[in-house]
């Protein structure tokens, strides 16, 4: 057993990769082309209106001046001017409303595209995680996966919402401004644009710095999530050891590191924002100086310079926004990289080409020289295991902790694929089954049960949610749980807390048995699933199941020999190898490890 501390963040260090991330996100947003179209149109319209308003106000001043100058004059001019004033007032109202409405449309469409993409990503992520195989999930921490699902999806969403529409808008605004300035006065135009190369350079370097900072920060937040997640999951251990302070210290170290990264980010951001707008102002100052001298020398009129500076001040706001958007870009590309790294994974256990939905009707099971090694491990956990069970028969497996019993169980529904030797059900290699049909036919009652936060009923019907009520009741009856449930005030609707905290150990295991029985499998594997159930209850369960599962092939893994003595065949496993096998009586006659174990378990009885 070796640890694969694999971090999945395939870091896109090259600019090229972050370009790919962007094109991918942009491609996603092009699905909403109408929203995009209307959103961008709305930006232009609202900008148009907001530029129109100062113009109108200027007109109003002129009109008032007219009124004043014509004070002594004719009534018609006064009325004209007055009417003009009213008209301007009317236009002002209209353009204000227009500005507001179109701003609303553009902001809303931006958010709407962002939310839709967020939704899509979430669904894709969920689907992918459900399909990734056990070996993948064993190697990553759920805290990391949860962080990606919460924070990175959010990062991309924010990027789409705030950046995509605006980039198109800003580019066209700056383009127009540039065009106007260059055509008005080429010399001043060039001077006034002298800040552009600096901004471009600054934007790139800052974005790169920010991106690697976001990567580091999101990774750190993943570790933080992991720490908190483990703490909440292991809360009983924490309380039992009064380790609250210890846990806080553990958390604080990571939190401080993350805070340091955040602070770093703030300073990169602050620098780039202030430098970029200052660069702009400096070019403006130079324009003022050079333009002022040109005016004085008479080569241009003051009006021209005014107009020129007016064009330039249109650029002020976009330039400021570039500073802000750099961060959004950096976060978007870091988050996108982290999320796509997972979306692009292909589960290594999947339906093989040509696999079919096979209906298992008999349920014989055979291992032929099966070997298996955990990923990254340097020795085989299962070594050359061969056995055969006929339909309806029972196989028992015993062995010390870590001998590979659960591993064998996990190979049958293809949670892992063996490295050698086929596994056959009804003489068909299990890789010829679709995963779905295979897992319907084979059911493992896991050693560590997992319950979902739902009612008892929904937990029992988890694998067969269309089952009628009486099926659920029957299964609980078989698992000796019915009596307990009937005593509960809300009976089957009682909530099972997270991972089943509100149940006792034995109740959890019985619920897990009931859940598996509900699935009507052809092959059922009990992996030490009665360890916390008293043997009396266990015997009852077994008797109930006997009639129900007479045609079901059964594997029982247990440390309690009384649980599997009746099996047709028993394997004694040690270090991944079968060391003894046979029926109970045959094994006793062998006078080997099995007999030792049997004697040990019966000593207690004999000594009284």
């Amino acid at each position: 057993m070796i640890v694969k501390n694999q971090t999945i963040s395939a870091r896109p260090l090259k600019n090229n990769d972050s370009f790919k991330v962007f094109t991918r996100i942009i491609k996603m947003s092009f699905k909403y082309k109408w929203k995009l179209f209307f959103g961008i149109s709305a930006i232009f319209l609202s900008t148009g209106f907001s530029l129109y308003i100062p113009l109108l106000l200027g007109n109003a001043v002129d009109a008032a001046n007219n009124l004043l100058s014509s004070n002594s004059g004719e009534v018609s001019t006064i009325n004209d001017s007055k009417n003009q004033l009213y008209f301007i007032c009317f236009l002002l109202l209209i353009s204000s409303i227009g500005r507001g409405t179109f701003s609303m449309i553009h902001v809303y469409f931006g958010e709407s595209i962002g939310q839709h993409i967020g939704y899509e990503l979430r669904m894709m992520y969920y689907e992918k995680l459900q399909r990734l195989s056990f070996s993948y999930h064993a190697g990553v921490h759920t805290g990391d996966l949860i962080t990606r699902g919460i924070l990175d999806v959010e990062g991309i969403r924010m990027f789409v919402q705030t950046a995509i529409l605006r980039v198109i808008f800003l580019t066209s605004l700056i383009g127009t401004g540039t065009f106007l300035m260059i055509t008005t006065n080429p010399v001043l135009g060039v001077i006034s644009l002298s800040f552009v190369p600096f901004v471009a350079w600054k934007a790139t370097t800052a974005r790169l710095k920010l991106r690697s900072n976001w990567y580091a920060l999101q990774d750190k937040l993943s570790v933080l999530t992991k720490t908190m997640d483990e703490n909440l999951g292991g809360i009983r251990v924490v309380r039992a050891f009064s380790a609250e302070e210890f846990e806080m210290k553990k958390y604080q170290v990571i939190s401080d590191e993350a805070l340091k990264l955040s602070n770093e980010q703030v300073s990169i951001r602050s620098q780039s924002i202030s430098q970029i707008s200052t660069a702009f102002f400096i070019s403006m100052g130079i324009v003022l100086l050079v333009g002022g001298r040109q005016v004085m020398s008479g080569s241009i009129t003051p009006g021209e310079l005014t107009q020129f500076l007016a064009f330039m001040s249109i650029l002020l706001d976009p330039v400021r926004q570039i500073g802000l958007m750099i961060n959004g870009f950096a976060r978007g590309s870091a988050s996108g990289g982290r999320l796509f790294a997972i979306l692009d994974l292909e589960p290594n256990i999947h339906d093989e080409d040509g696999s079919k939905d096979v209906k298992v009707n008999k349920g014989s099971l055979e291992f032929r020289n099966v070997s298996f090694t955990y990923e990254g491990d340097n020795h085989e956990t299962i070594h050359n295991v061969s056995f055969k069970i006929n339909p309806g028969e029972t196989l028992g497996i015993v062995g010390p902790p870590g001998s590979g019993k659960s591993t064998i169980a996990h190979l049958i529904p293809r949670f892992y694929d063996p490295s050698g030797g086929p596994i056959l059900i009804d003489d068909i290699d299990i890789r010829n089954f679709t995963l779905e049909s295979l897992r319907h036919a084979v059911c493992v009652v896991e050693q560590d049960t997992f319950m979902f936060t739902a009612s008892i009923e929904h937990n029992i019907a988890y694998g067969n949610p269309w089952a009628p009520d009486d099926r659920v009741e029957k299964s609980t009856h078989h698992a000796q749980l019915a009596e307990y449930i009937e005593r509960l005030p809300e009976k089957y609707k009682t909530l099972v807390g997270e991972r089943g905290v509100s149940l006792s150990g034995g109740q959890r295991q019985r619920l897990s048995i009931a859940r598996s029985v509900m699935m009507d499998p052809n092959i059922i594997i009990f992996d030490d699933s009665t360890a916390a159930i008293d043997a009396g209850t266990e015997r009852k369960i077994r008797e109930e199941l006997k009639s129900l599962t007479s045609k079901t092939t059964t594997i029982i893994i247990s440390h309690r020999l009384s649980s599997l003595m009746h099996a047709n065949k028993i394997l004694f496993l040690n270090r991944g190898r079968i060391v003894e096998s046979g029926s109970h009586n045959e094994l006793l006659e062998l006078k080997g490890q099995y007999q030792d174990l049997y004697n040990l378990q019966n000593k207690a009885r004999g000594k009284i």
Partner: protein, 628 residues
């Protein structure tokens, strides 16, 4: 891949399926816990950074002033140097120099405001998360039992991240606010009546806002809650992915998740609609205000009541006045969104801590490790007692065994010794002192437990065995590992004790996990040790070795052992038989045999394990003994 696309499936929601319970559970758990003023609470987190904020505020003011003065300087350049025929080059240079000075101030203040406010904002975010997390360390277990960690996670990460957006825009909001105040003062000073007229729309704006807030609040809250449900569902599915794949629930879960995600999408879009509706509102109002100024100002000019210059100034100011108001409106949506998150954060912080150390609480280190239950009654849910009238006494150094069928209350009894839950009636004493008077921390230092469900942390095996125990030598760790028989296995691993474990120790077999959690408990050397089915997943041979090692290890310690196997039980000084939350019998092994009561009858039956006895026989024996 030939796996069918999820979208090709029929989207029929099965009758017996749900993905993470609807918000009602969450509402129930957190209901009415928080009803304070979010903003006020928020400021208590700002307070510690007063010192950084004062310079930040100054920077904001300087920045605002320079931002306004830069266009003014340009205007002056025109007015004084370029417009007339007085071509004064020196004046031009002077103004340009002034312009550059303004730029420098602008640059410095811009940088300072960004970095100071930004850093304080980050600190506040981290402080709030830490406060939440720290609080969760001390809230009662019964609260934690009811709460999904996925949803807590969504508060710890998602809501904190949502606040971040707000804090990032805070610097602009402060600037805008400063600007508005400045403009209002200037306008009133220029012409009081016109100034007042301009502000006529502000009450209207406030009124609309008052109507708007409740809608916005509930919409943003709904968006956050649905998002937290989505995160919770995601988290649960990741945690239970083995069960999901084992029972091929992928398709059903996908559809259920889709429902939740769509619900969240709808809620978010609705919140967004409610947020943006303020834009045309503010703009219309500002249009009205501008219109008023134009007409009334024009008439004033006409009547000669004000000069044209004043009107020009007004027209300019009114432009500057409504832009920050508009910007603030946008921030206001962000603020409302942040309030929703803030509320959810404070809800966590406000969950009452039911179990607190009393004043003058006693440190357990000096007490003898005797345990006494006097008429203890306890249950998890109201009116459903799980343990009824429990009485027993364990002398220091004794080992007692708790036996009984599943669900009889064995684990619950041990949980009470550690005060995981508060009892309803009666009292529990350790060393003759009521545990309510003992310092919680010292309880944890002196009572170590092997829980029924082995839980390991990610990290090395060594870290796991030591866990929070202080001053432990490596030799002690090795001794503990040897005692539970896992040392040999560890030494076979390439990295030995430094082998990294995955979360929950998933790269170990269950038995191995149980052994390590066993080692973690005995390394602690505490006076009281509780073993809850510590060897349930371990073979009899290893168990026998552990039993032998324990004989030495438990010397002088008080132990409570829950076990199935007779070998373990018989060695105990006293055996307590539990059934349905009641003690049926308790005594030493010898006495129980001598008394020829229940235990005697049970032991003489031909079962290899105490629990092997079918219930109907227990029933029969119980009936017959209670008769005598």
């Amino acid at each position: 891949m030939s796996m069918k696309k999820f979208s090709e499936r029929s989207h029929e929601i099965p009758p017996k399926a749900s993905v993470v319970l609807a918000s009602n559970l969450e509402e129930e758990v957190f209901s009415e816990k928080f009803n304070g003023d979010v903003i006020k609470r928020f400021f208590s987190y700002v307070k510690p950074y007063k010192r950084q904020l004062i310079p930040a505020l100054i920077a904001v003011i300087i920045f605002t002033i320079t931002s306004i003065s830069i266009p003014l300087i340009i205007k002056n350049v025109f007015d004084s140097t370029l417009s007339g025929d007085n071509n004064n080059t020196n004046l031009l240079y002077l103004f340009v120099a002034g312009f550059f000075v303004a730029i420098i101030f602008n640059f410095i203040s811009n940088y300072l405001q960004e970095i100071l406010v930004g850093r304080v904002a980050e600190h506040i975010l981290f402080d709030m998360r830490t406060a939440m997390y720290e609080h969760l360390q001390s809230v009662s277990l019964s609260f934690m039992d009811k709460t999904e960690s996925g949803k807590l996670m969504s508060r710890l990460q998602g809501d904190v991240a949502a606040l971040q957006e707000f804090l990032h825009t805070a610097v602009f909001a402060i600037g805008d606010f400063v600007l508005i105040v400045g403009i209002i003062i200037t306008m009133l000073w220029l012409d009081f009546r016109l100034g007042l007229l301009t502000m006529v729309v502000i009450p209207a704006l406030l009124l609309i806002r008052i109507i708007w807030i409740p809608f916005a609040r509930s919409a943003f809250l709904k968006a956050r809650i649905t998002s937290s449900i989505v995160s919770g569902a995601l988290a649960e599915n990741i945690n239970g992915v083995r069960a999901v794949q084992g029972m091929t629930r992928e398709y059903v879960n996908y559809d259920l998740f889709d429902l939740r995600a769509k619900e969240n999408l709808r809620a978010a879009l609705k919140a967004s609609r409610i947020g943006v509706i303020m834009l045309p509102t503010v703009d219309s109002l500002s249009g009205i205000a501008r219109g008023i100024v134009v007409i009334v100002g024009g008439i004033f000019v006409l009547n000669g009541e004000i000069e044209t210059g004043v009107m020009v100034a007004f027209v300019l100011f009114i432009q500057r006045f409504f832009d920050p108001i508009r910007a603030l409106t946008m921030h206001y949506s962000v603020l409302q969104r942040a309030m929703a998150s803030g509320e959810r954060i404070f809800e966590v912080i406000d969950v009452p801590v039911e179990m607190k150390d009393k004043e003058n609480s006693i440190i357990m280190d000096d007490l003898d490790p005797s345990i006494e239950f006097n008429n203890v009654t306890f249950g998890y849910l109201p009116n459903q007692p799980i343990l009824k009238n429990i009485n027993f006494k364990i002398k220091p150094g004794e080992t007692i065994a708790l036996v009984g069928p599943t669900g009889s209350g064995k684990t619950s009894t041990t949980a009470l010794v550690h005060r995981f839950y508060e009892i309803w009636e009666g009292e529990i004493k350790i060393g003759g002192v009521n545990i309510k008077d003992i310092k919680l921390q010292s309880l944890g230092n002196n009572v170590s437990m092997v829980l029924q469900e082995p839980f390991l942390f990610s990290g090395s095996i060594l870290e796991n065995i030591i866990y929070s125990t202080k001053n432990i030598s490596f030799q002690k760790v090795v001794d503990a590992a040897k005692a539970v028989g896992v040392h040999d296995y560890i030494m076979e691993l390439p990295d030995k004790y430094d082998t990294q474990l995955e979360q929950r120790g998933e790269n170990l077999s269950i038995g191995q996990r149980q052994l390590i959690s066993f080692a973690r408990a005995i390394v602690r050397d505490s006076k009281i040790i509780i073993l809850d089915e510590a060897t349930a997943n371990i073979d009899s041979y290893t168990e026998m070795q552990i039993q032998n090692a324990l004989k030495v290890l438990l010397e002088g310690r008080t132990a409570m052992v829950i076990a199935h196997r007779l070998a373990t039980i018989r060695g105990a000084d006293k055996i307590i038989v539990l059934q349905n939350g009641e003690i049926i019998e308790q005594d030493t092994h010898e006495n129980l045999i001598k008394n020829k009561g229940l235990y005697y009858s049970l032991s003489s039956l031909n079962y290899s394990s105490f629990d092997d006895i079918p219930n109907h026989i227990i029933q029969k024996i119980t009936n017959s003994t209670s008769g005598t």
